[in-house]
Structure formats: structure tokens, C-alpha cells
């Protein structure tokens, strides 16, 4: 394991520790989505997954 990987790992740990309270707060105050709300998120995400697959086929 070289020093670049050690610095990357330390930076990721620091980032996770910094983000954790904000994430907890966001979950606590998060509005609930209906199934129709979730569908409006899932459909574009599926379209993006298909688009990335198409890019992989092109390369």
C-alpha cells in the first residue's frame, strides 16, 4: 500500500465523518415520497443505466 492510497483513505474517512451529521439531519427532516414520486425518479435512472450501457457498447 503506497502513501497515495493511505492519504486517499484518510481523506475519505474525514469526508464520511464530516458528512455523517448532515446526512442524519437530512434523514430526520426528509419529506416522504409517494410511489408516484419514486417512479418519477426510477424512470430517468433506468434511462441513464441504459444510456451508460449504450456508451459501453460504443467503446
Amino acid at each position: 500500500m503506497d502513501w497515495m492510497e493511505i492519504i486517499s483513505a484518510l481523506a475519505l474517512i474525514a469526508f464520511i465523518i464530516f458528512l455523517f451529521p448532515a446526512a442524519r439531519e437530512m434523514i430526520k427532516n426528509n419529506p416522504q415520497g409517494t410511489s408516484s414520486d419514486w417512479m418519477s425518479f426510477v424512470i430517468p435512472v433506468i434511462a441513464i443505466a441504459l444510456f451508460v450501457t449504450f456508451l459501453v457498447m460504443l467503446v
Binding site: S8, I16, L19, A22, A23, I27, A47, I48, L55, L58
Partner: protein, 223 residues
Amino acid sequence: MNQNYSTVAQRSTSAIATNKVLRNTYLLLSMTLLFSGFTAALSMLMNTPPVTYLISVIGGMVIAMFVLPRFANSPAGIGIVFLITGMLGFGLGPVLSMYASLPNGGNIITLSLGGTGVIFMGLSAYALATKKDFSFLGGFLMVGFLLVLLAALANIFLQIPAMSLMISAVVIMIMSGFILYDTSRIIHGGETNYVLATIGLYMTIFNIFISLLQILGIMSNDD
């Protein structure tokens, strides 16, 4: 009757303010993307070592998290956004040089760049056209992002290429969600500061581009 006029006037003022934030965000975003392209080209010409990427990303993130929020409401905030995006672009130099040296490197970089543009514009158009409130995604995206960071941390020690591929794919999905979430926040008045809105959208574009580069790079090596 007067109350009706007042409500209509308030709504139209709010719509004008939202449009102003949106217009300023996209203007600043396009300028910072051009600036990043310039600093990335400069970094490639200078043949910077791979450690440049690590230093730039850590430095950019530290400035974005600790310095930018203090200056977001002042003109200095715009300068700090250019500093962050310039640093991140500069850090991309050695990464792009590495991909450019691959047999199919030019194609991988072009497809990643084009793919990132299509994903960003497609999702922004979707959020703007539907005007749907995606605020319900906040907690889910944050938890997903934390899990991805934990997986990336584990993979530094495990070094599994398939896991790296999976992490990149999940990052693209989560960043796509953040584009919808951030755009919807601007539309619905949740984000009124275009400096902070710009840096949020820039980070999603940056992460999608890096993840696409990684996916296309790994998949082209499998031939």
C-alpha cells in the same frame, strides 16, 4: 379582490427570483466548466504527476466545505467557485493524460465528455419540464452517497476491479439523483444562492465524468 392581486404579485415575484437564480446558476456553471477545461488542458501540457489529482480533489473539497459557505453571499464567492473548479480541472490533467495514452483513449474521453453532457442536460430538462418536487430524495441520496464512500474506502484495501466498476455505476445513479434534487430545489425556492447551487451541480458533473471515464476505461480493457 385585493388579496387575489397580492397573491398573484407574490407568485410572480417568486417566479422571477427563481428564474434569476436558475439563469445565474447555469451561466456560472457554463463559465466554470470552460475554466475547468482550460486548467485541465494546462495541466496536461505541463505533464503533471498523478498525485496532482489527489491534492486538487482534497484541496477543492476542503475549500468547498469550509471556505465557500462563508463567502457564498459576497462577490468573493464567485472567485472561490472559480478557484475550486479550476483546481478540480487542473487535477483532471494527469487522469486525462493517462486515458489519452490508452489505445482507445481519445474515444473514451470523448464518449465520457459527451455522455456527461447528455446525462446532465437530459436530467435538467426533465426536472425543469416536470417541475416535480424531488426534495423527498434528499435522505436517500445522502445515505447512498455515504455507503458509496464506505465502499470506496473498503476498495482501497481490497483492490477489486469489479467493485470499482460497481462503485462508479452507483456514483452515476446517485449523482443523477442529485441533479434532479438540486435543480428541483432551485425551481421550488429551496436554494436561492446561485454560487452554492453552481458548486453543487458542478460536483455532480465532475463525479459523473470521472465515473464514466472509469467505466468506459475498464470495459474497453476487457476486449
